[in-house]
Symmetry: C3
Subunit: 258 residues, 3 copies
């Protein structure tokens, strides 16, 4: 036996529509294909509703978004909300500019994410708590559980806060996760691809809390597995082996990282 959640993704191969940043498009698409889902990436405002119409999930990531991209995201998000398919929102570097802040506020008024995923600095910004950031990366090590719960309370939306300890908050329940590897911080888009993997896991039938937990746990375990391989000598060789590991069974990864 593997995992109900991951087995269900591989059975269904959900089509995930991405409106995401340019830096991670290739990595996100390859990661999702390896994991067992189907990526599609399109941002022309005139077509996003039709794409969402056939998609099983929607991922919105603002990493390199320009003004027009927010319009496409909002239009896609409203359609996804209408259809009742899951929407994951990744507020990459939201604190970095007034432009991002204003557009994220607007976006969160117009659409209802199923999950908000971000690092401590991003979640802190959304929760209106002071936190240190460096560019799009969070620094510091405060009370991340309190932080994630505050964001949940404010938006009444499940939160995945990533870091050395990941925090998952759903209605009435908070859990943490410790799988992962420091090289995830030495490659670009590790958080973004996790957003993609989570979106695919919440696009199948099941319990949201269970799906989030399984996605985050599996992702970290795949990183641990890849990092310990003999041929992996740094963040560069880590990447292809990590993508491989996303295609493996959870049971295998558990055994292999014991």
């Amino acid at each position: 036996m593997n995992s109900n959640v991951i087995d269900a993704v591989r059975e269904k191969s959900p089509l995930i529509h991405h409106i995401t940043n340019h830096v991670v498009m290739n990595f996100s698409a390859n990661g999702l294909l390896s994991f067992g889902g189907s990526p599609i990436m399109a941002k022309e405002e005139q077509e996003v509703e039709e794409i969402v119409q056939v998609a099983d999930g929607l991922l919105l990531n603002i990493g390199t978004a320009v003004e027009q991209d927010y319009k496409s995201m909002i239009r896609a998000g409203i359609k996804a909300n209408d259809r009742g398919i899951p929407v994951l929102f990744d507020p990459v570097g939201v604190g970095a500019s007034q432009f991002r802040q204003a557009n994220v506020q607007k976006l969160l008024k117009e659409i209802t994410p199923t999950v908000i995923k971000g690092n401590a600095a991003e979640i802190a910004y959304l929760a209106d708590v002071k936190w240190k950031a460096k560019g799009v990366d969070a620094v510091g090590d405060g009370n991340v559980i309190e932080l994630a719960e505050k964001a949940f309370d404010r938006y009444q939306c499940p939160v995945v806060l990533t870091g050395k300890r990941d925090v998952i908050v759903t209605a009435g329940k908070t859990v943490t996760n410790k799988t992962g590897h420091r090289w995830l911080e030495r490659i670009t888009g590790a958080g973004c691809l996790l957003g993609t993997i989570i979106t695919s896991c919440i696009s199948v039938d099941g319990d949201l809390q269970e799906q989030l937990k399984e996605a985050v746990y599996f992702y970290g375990l795949a990183a641990e597995y890849a990092s310990q391989l003999q041929h992996v000598k740094g963040p560069g060789t880590f990447i292809p082996h990590f993508i491989d590991a996303l295609s493996y069974d959870l049971t295998f990864l558990k055994e292999a990282t014991k």
Copy 2:
């Protein structure tokens, strides 16, 4: 001896202008460089004619195109037609939205591709035949030869239809190809990069039918070779080894995959 077509590409190192989707730019450029050609990617409408002026071939791929990109593609395509250099058109996910359909119709009125390359669902859309698609990927296994020939008849344009069995239709001749590996469907941009490789092969002197056949055959063989290597353990590690294999001799790949 290797292959007349591939040797000619490596001798000439044709400059291929890409107006292509953002997901596959890096993969396409690295694949072409490894194979022996020279990529250039530019989409500002004001400069595409000058780029085409010095290019040996033009690839147009609509995967993530927004409205402005179609204007640049049409302008580049008209210039390429004027100069008599080959134009490969890749109608990625054309059936996915009315926006794509309308813009592709317009594009095909204004420019004459040398080759149209697509998967079954894309070619079916162009040929006005019903077919199933999932996002940008084709599903199902109908009569692909009939499909490709129908598209050829409709556009009076050579067609490469990719899939488990690739179909190549040129004036008065249809051939099929069976090289390839299932991992090409588990990485993003395998079809897009094939478009790049084909464009480089039709940018040298020779018989079009021969060039298309050789490009598709070689590409699949490179995938077979990479997939069987000891260090390749999944789609992630397949990618760099596949790019390596694109730089090898056809004779070597034939021997090694016997």
Copy 3:
């Protein structure tokens, strides 16, 4: 002991704001993270000043720039000049179109780069000397030292000219570098990532000449190291191992490539 320059980068982990071409974003970000810096990539004109406000260095690369991107570059560059943080300018394929030429002229009137980095054809264009180019790549082997010095004189700006022999010109001093490997010409973005690495090296305290020399020397050595590894069989497998090597100590690379 490693290198004062590289140690300082790894100590500080400078945040480098990139407005760069779409082909190399992922490669540049991963290369910088491996080396020890922090990348951020944002091009919305409304936010670039705020991003520059917290950045330690700015890289401007025109490879796939459309008209709007030049506006963002100029605004970011003026802000970087105001703050006194280093600006590296990479005029990718500047000779390829009148559009690039006009916009680069405008950009160089409005902002003062700390360093201009380019291949022979690009530097020749800026220095108003005839040179052959193929797309965005330089061909030919003229007097590159004279060329780089001419560009320095014209713009009163330090120049890094890359090629088989790299030339580094600062006020009153010219040095050359011969580390490197031919596979750097068979992968996309090798010059672009070098621009990123240099930007991080000039974002720490120290002597500019020393920083440029060390960055270029180290980069080439990392390529030599990666190319000779047993598992590297072509440009595809070279890439991840090269990214790995960017995280290593200079002393180790020197020993290992002896």
